[in-house]
C-alpha cells in the first residue's frame, strides 16, 4: 500500500511544474465552459481536444483530456442550476433541485454545493480507481478469447438496457449496429476488405473519433437549432462557498452517491447521466427529508453532483483494466490513449505499471483545479451563457470539421462526421440511444477477433462459451438482463414470488 502511495507521490510531483499546472488550469476551465454551454457535451469537448493534442507527449495529452472531462461534467451543473437546462446530459438530475434553489434566490449556494459535491465525488471515485483497477486488471489476466467475446456482448447488452430503459430493444439495435460498423474495412486475420465496395477510404475502416464527433457534435447542433431559443433567467449570485455544516450533514449521502456513481460509471458505456439519476433516486429513498426533493433539496443536489462526478473515475476503471470504456467521454479517452501508444487493458500493469498512478495524479490535479475554479470567477464565466446559439453553433460545427480532419488530414473523415451526425440525429429523434452505437464501434474489433479465435481453438465447438466458469457468469448476466426486460418473464417472476409466499404462509399455518 505504501509503495503505491510513494509511486503516486512521485507521479504527482512530475506534474507539479508551471507548464503542467498552467495546462491543468486552462483545460479544466475550458471544460467547465464546454459543460456550461447547452449543446456542447463532455464527449464532444474531449473528442475535439484529442485531435488538437495528438502532437503532444502522451502524459501531457491525457492530462489535458482528463481535465476537460472533469471540468465539462461539472460545468453542466451551472446551466442546470441557473436556467434549468442540463449543460451536459450528466447534469439532468441536477436540474431537479438545483433550479428550484436558484428560484429561491440561492443560486450561489446551489453552485457551491454542486462544486463541493462534484469535488468529493471525483475524489471518492479516484480512490476507488486506485484500489480497484489493479484488482480488476489482475482478474482480467485470466480472461481468454471466450471471456472477451462475452465481455463485448455484455457491454452492448447492459449499455443498451440502461441507456434505453423505456425500450431496451432500441438500445440493443443501436449497439449491434455499432458492432456491424466496426466490421467495415480491412480485417486483421486475412487482410480482407469487408463492406468496402472497392472504396479505398472504406477499406481503412470507420475511424472512431470522426464518428463520435458526428454522433455527439453535429447531431447535437441540429437538435439545439431545432429547439426554440432559451431565455436566460438572470439570477443574483450571492455567497458561493458552502458551509461546512451543509456538507457534514449529508456525509452519508456523499459516500453512498460516490459509491453508486463509481460502480455505475464502471459499467461499460453507461455513463455519468445514469449515475446521477441512480444516486439521486437512492438519496431520495434513504432521505429523512423526502418532501424537499424536487423543491430545492440540498441533499438531492449533492447526491446528483457527487454521483455524476464519481462516475468519471469509475468510467476510467474499465478503460485501464479491460480497455472497455465506462462512458462515452471515456471511450474517447481510450481512443486517445491508443493514439498515443498507450495500450490499456489487463497487460497495462505489466507493460506500463506507473501509468495507473499517473492517471490517479491527473484526476487529483483536475479535481483540485475544478474545485478552485468552480468557486471562483463564477459571475464572470456565467456571462458566457448569454452567447446566442446561432452565433455559437456555426463555430462549434467549424470545430467539429477541424477536429475530424486534424487526425489524419482526410476529407473522408469529415464526410464520416457529417453522415454520423445525421445518423445520430435520426436516432435521437426516434429514441435510439447513441452511446451503445459508439460502444459497439469500440468493442467490434474485440468481439470479431476473439469470437473467431475461440472458434478456431475449439474447432467450431461452442460449448466452452457456456462451460468455462467466467464465461458462464457473463452468459447468465446477459441472459438475465435480456429476460428481465420481457413482460412474460416479469410475470413469471411475480407468479413464482406469490407461490413461494403462499407455501411459506401454509407452512406457518400448519
Amino acid at each position: 500500500m505504501f509503495e503505491g502511495l510513494i509511486q503516486l507521490g512521485q507521479e504527482l510531483s512530475k506534474f507539479l511544474t508551471p507548464r503542467f499546472l498552467f495546462d491543468v488550469l486552462w483545460s479544466t476551465q475550458l471544460g467547465i465552459i464546454v459543460g456550461m454551454l447547452p449543446g456542447l457535451t463532455a464527449t464532444m469537448g474531449v473528442a475535439l481536444m484529442t485531435t488538437l493534442t495528438y502532437k503532444f507527449a502522451s502524459s501531457h495529452a491525457v492530462l489535458i483530456l482528463i481535465c476537460m472531462y472533469i471540468g465539462a461534467i461539472y460545468g453542466g451543473s451551472r446551466t442546470a442550476i441557473l436556467i434549468n437546462i442540463p449543460g451536459t446530459p450528466a447534469n439532468a438530475a441536477t436540474t431537479v433541485d438545483g433550479n428550484p434553489l436558484a428560484k429561491q434566490g440561492k443560486a450561489g449556494q446551489a453552485m457551491g454545493i454542486a462544486t463541493t459535491g462534484s469535488f468529493l465525488g471525483s475524489i471518492f471515485g479516484m480512490v476507488m480507481l486506485a484500489i480497484f483497477t489493479p484488482i480488476i486488471g489482475n482478474a482480467a489476466l485470466s480472461f481468454y478469447s471466450f471471456e472477451y467475446f462475452w465481455l463485448a456482448i455484455f457491454g452492448i447488452v447492459i449499455c443498451g438496457s440502461l441507456t434505453a430503459p423505456k425500450d431496451p430493444l432500441k438500445g440493443w439495435i443501436s449497439g449491434f449496429l455499432g458492432l456491424f460498423i466496426a466490421t467495415i474495412g480491412m480485417e486483421a486475420m486475412h487482410a480482407y476488405r469487408r463492406f468496402s465496395f472497392g472504396n479505398v477510404n472504406l477499406a481503412g475502416g470507420i475511424q472512431l473519433l470522426p464518428a463520435m464527433i458526428g454522433v455527439f457534435g453535429f447531431s447535437e447542433i441540429l437538435m439545439v437549432m431545432k429547439q426554440p431559443a432559451v431565455r436566460i433567467v438572470s439570477n443574483k449570485i450571492e455567497r458561493v462557498i458552502p458551509s461546512l455544516k451543509d456538507i457534514l450533514k449529508y456525509w452519508k449521502t456523499i459516500i453512498r452517491s460516490g459509491f453508486i456513481g463509481t460502480i455505475i460509471g464502471a459499467i461499460p458505456g453507461v455513463g455519468e447521466d445514469i449515475a446521477a439519476w441512480v444516486s439521486y433516486d437512492f438519496a431520495k429513498k434513504a432521505s429523512k427529508e423526502k418532501e424537499k426533493f424536487g423543491h430545492g433539496s440540498i441533499e438531492g443536489l449533492i447526491a446528483a453532483e457527487t454521483g455524476n462526478n464519481a462516475a468519471i473515475p469509475g468510467a476510467i476503471i474499465p478503460v485501464l483494466a479491460l480497455a472497455v470504456p465506462g462512458s462515452a467521454p471515456a471511450a474517447v479517452l481510450l481512443g486517445a490513449m491508443l493514439i498515443h501508444g498507450i495500450r490499456p487493458g489487463p497487460l497495462l500493469m505489466i507493460e506500463n505499471p506507473t501509468f495507473i498512478y499517473q492517471v490517479v495524479a491527473m484526476l487529483f490535479l483536475a479535481t483540485c483545479a475544478m474545485f478552485i475554479l468552480g468557486l471562483s470567477f463564477i459571475r464572470v464565466f456565467v456571462k458566457i451563457l448569454i452567447i446566442p446559439r446561432e452565433k455559437l453553433m456555426p463555430v462549434v460545427f467549424a470545430l467539429c470539421v477541424i477536429g475530424s480532419y486534424a487526425l489524419s488530414a482526410k476529407m473522408f473523415d469529415i464526410l464520416v462526421m457529417t453522415v454520423f451526425g445525421l445518423i445520430g440525429y435520426a436516432m435521437k429523434e426516434m429514441d435510439y440511444p447513441v452511446a451503445p452505437l459508439v460502444l459497439g464501434i469500440i468493442l467490434g474489433d474485440l468481439l470479431d477477433s476473439n469470437l473467431r479465435r475461440s472458434l478456431i481453438l475449439t474447432d467450431g465447438n461452442i460449448l466452452p462459451f457456456f462451460t468455462r466458469p467466467i464465461s458462464l457468469v457473463f452468459f447468465l448476466f446477459i441472459s438475465i438482463t435480456i429476460l428481465s426486460q420481457m413482460k412474460w418473464f416479469k410475470n413469471l417472476l411475480k407468479t413464482l414470488q406469490l407461490s413461494i409466499k403462499k407455501v411459506f404462509l401454509k407452512r406457518k399455518m400448519i
Binding site: T53, F180, M189, F195, F218, V395, M411, T418, M430, R452
Partner: protein
C-alpha cells in the same frame, strides 16, 4: 415524437433495419473463407458480420411485429399535413442549419478555407437573426473574426493542417 408517430417511425426503421440485416448477411456468406490457402474455416472474415446480420434481422423483425400490433403501418400522407410540417418553425430552423452545414462540408477543399468558413458563419448567424443593417454588419464582423481566429489558432498553435 408522439407515440403514434413513433410507431410509424418504428415501422419504417424496422423495414430498413431488416433490409440492412439481410444485405449484411448475404454479403457475409459470399465472403471468401480462404480454405484453398489452408486457412481454418472458422477464421473466415464473414463469420462475425454474418452473425451480426442475423441478429439485426431478428431484432428488426421484433420491432416490425411490435409496430404492426400498435398500428404503425397506418400512414396517412396529405398535402396539408406536409405543408404544416414545412411551415413548422422548428423544422425550418433545422433545415436551415442542416443545409448550410452540409454545403459547407461539400465545398470544403474546393474554396479557400478562411473564405468558406467566413461565408458559412456569416450565413448561419444572419439566417437566424433579425435582418437589419446593424445585425448584417455585426454578423459579417463576427464571421471574419472567428474565421481568422480558427484558421490561425489551429494552424500555428495546434499545428493542424486545414482542409
Amino acid at each position: 415524437m408522439k407515440p403514434k408517430d413513433m410507431n410509424k417511425a418504428d415501422f419504417f426503421t424496422s423495414i430498413f433495419l431488416f433490409l440492412l440485416g439481410l444485405i449484411v448477411f448475404i454479403i457475409s456468406i459470399r465472403m471468401p473463407t480462404f480454405r484453398e490457402l489452408g486457412a481454418n474455416p472458422y477464421s473466415a472474415p464473414g463469420i462475425v458480420p454474418g452473425i451480426l446480420g442475423v441478429t439485426l434481422l431478428f431484432m428488426s423483425a421484433i420491432l416490425f411485429i411490435r409496430s404492426v400490433i400498435r398500428k404503425g403501418y397506418k400512414i396517412r400522407l396529405s398535402s396539408q399535413g406536409l405543408k404544416l410540417f414545412f411551415k413548422n418553425n422548428s423544422i425550418k430552423r433545422f433545415l436551415i442549419a442542416l443545409f448550410l452545414s452540409v454545403f459547407y462540408v461539400i465545398l470544403l477543399g474546393k474554396i479557400n478555407y478562411f473564405l468558406l468558413t467566413t461565408i458559412y458563419i456569416f450565413l448561419f448567424v444572419w439566417s437566424f437573426e433579425l435582418k437589419t443593417k446593424k445585425t448584417l454588419f455585426f454578423a459579417l464582423l463576427e464571421a471574419v473574426l472567428i474565421a481568422v481566429c480558427i484558421s490561425y489558432v489551429f494552424r500555428y498553435l495546434f499545428l493542424v493542417t486545414l482542409p
